[in-house]
Symmetry: D2
Subunit: 149 residues, 4 copies
C-alpha cells in the first residue's frame, strides 16, 4: 500500500537529515518549509556559485531542487527508512539571475518503493520572482540499509 | 551544416571559460582534459560536498558532469558563441564513495544550434574505479548574446 | 522576443498537422482541445496497444503525450515554422489500466527557439480518472526547413 | 546482491513476453537478438508510423527503445519476477528517415530492484546506418505481483 500521509515527527526527521547534508551548508541553502509531501529550500545567490556568465550554476540549482525533492518524498516514508535519489531531469527555463533561489518540491506520486517528485525553481529579487527551472526526480525508499536518515 | 571538428584555440577558450565558472573552484573541481568533442573534469571528495550519508551529493555530481558536457559541446561551437545547458538527466548508479570523482563527457551529436552530450561519472580510489552516474545533456549554441564564452 | 500568445488560425494549423501524423490515426488518437499553449488528445484503450500485462504500452503513452506537447508548443510558434521534439522524459506513475488515455499538455515556457512543455496522462473509466504518467518535453521551432507544419 | 549474469532460459522467457506485447506486433516490430544484458529489436518503417513530416514518429521510436531496454534488464532478473518501466528519457538526434529502425539496448547497471539501461536507435537503409535517438531508462524488478512475465 502506498503511504497516504506522513508519520508524526517527520519535520524533525527531515530537519535533522538536512543538517547532515554538508553540501547544503556549503552552498548556503536553508530549509524553509516542510509539510506533508511538500518541501521548500532557499539558496541566496553568491558569486561563488556562478557559472561563466555570472548566473547561478545549473549544478547549484540541481543540488537544491534534488534535495527538496528527496525530502518531499521522505515526508511520506516510514520512520526507519532512508531516501535516495535514483535519477532526476532538470530543465533550465531562463537565466538564473536574482538574489535568491526558491525551490518548491512536491510529491507527484508516492509508492511503497518509488516516489516521483517535481520541484520548481524561482529566482527572486525584492520585486519579482522568475521561474528558472523545473526538475522531475525519482526517489527510492531504502529499508534495512544500515544508513541513518 | 553541423560542425565536424573544433576550431583552433578551443582548448584555451574552454580553459578561460572554466576559470570563470566560480562554482567549479568553490567545489574544488579541476579541468583534466580537453579534446575535440571530449572533456574530463576531476573533483576530489571533501566532507563539505556530502549528502546525509556521507556520499558525494548528487548535486555536486550534476555540477561537474553538466560542466563537462557543456565544454565538450563547446569544443565544436564557433569562436564567437556561447554555450548554455538547456536540460540534463542524471542517473545515479551507485553510492558515490571514493577519493575523487572523474567526469568524462563526450559529444553524441553536434548540430548548428543543439548539441547532445553524455558524461559518465566514476569514483576512484587508489585501487578501484566505480561507475556511479551517467548524465545526458542538451546544450545550446547561443549567437549574438552579448555574453562572453 | 519569446511569443506571448498564439497567432490567429493556430487551431486550423494544428488540426491539419495532426491529421498528417499517421501515427495518431494508427493508434486511434483524437485531438480533443487546442487552446493557446494547451492541447488535449484522447486515446481509447485497445488490446492491440498493450504491453505484456495488458496495460497500455509506455510507448503508446509516450506517443500521445509527446504529440500533445509538440502541438501545445506549436500554438505559440509563428505561422511559417515547424515544430520538432528534441527530447522528452516520461515518468510512469501507475499501471495504465482503463478505457481511455487523456493527455493534457501545456507550455511551461515558450522561447524563440526552444519551448518547454509538460503533459499529464490520465486513464479514465466511466467512474474514475487516474494519473498514470507525466512527460516533460523540449520542443524546437524550426524556420526555413522546407518542411510543412 | 545485484545479479551478475542471466538465469538459464532467459531467451525463451523474453521471447514469450515479447510475443504478448501486442503493441510490438501492432507496430510491426521484431525481436532480433537476446543476450545477457543486451536486446535488439527491429522496426521496419511504414507510412502508418510517421509524424507530420513523414519521419518515424518519436512515439514509435520510444516504444521500441523502451521495450528493448525493458527486456535487456529482464535478462538479469530472476525467473519468477516481472519487469516494469519506471521512467525513460529519449533524445532525438536526427530525423528518423530510412527503411528500418534498429534498437540496441544494454544494461548499464543491474541492481536487485532497479536496473538502468540505455538504448540507441539507428535508421538503416541498404547503404547507410544513422544514429537517430538515444534512450536512458530505469527498469524495476517486481516480485509477487501476480503478473506474468
Amino acid at each position: 500500500m502506498p503511504p497516504t500521509s506522513s508519520e508524526p515527527g517527520f519535520r524533525d526527521r527531515i530537519a535533522a537529515s538536512f543538517a547532515r547534508q554538508a553540501m547544503m551548508s556549503t552552498l548556503g541553502a536553508r530549509l524553509l518549509l516542510v509539510e506533508d509531501g511538500i518541501v521548500e529550500i532557499e539558496l541566496p545567490f553568491r558569486p561563488e556559485l556562478a557559472q561563466q556568465h555570472g548566473f547561478l550554476h545549473a549544478g547549484a540549482i540541481a543540488s537544491v531542487l534534488d534535495s527538496a525533492c528527496g525530502y518531499a518524498a521522505y515526508t511520506r516514508m516510514p520512520v526507519d527508512t532512508t531516501v535516495l535519489s535514483i535519477e532526476f531531469k532538470l530543465n533550465l527555463l531562463a537565466p538564473a539571475v536574482g538574489e535568491r533561489l526558491i525551490a518548491r518540491a512536491r510529491v507527484i506520486r508516492a509508492g511503497r518503493t518509488i516516489t516521483v517528485t517535481q520541484a520548481d525553481g524561482f529566482m527572486r529579487t525584492a520585486e519579482v520572482e522568475r521561474h528558472v527551472a523545473t526538475l522531475i526526480g525519482t526517489m527510492m525508499c531504502v529499508r534495512d540499509s544500515g544508513l541513518a536518515g
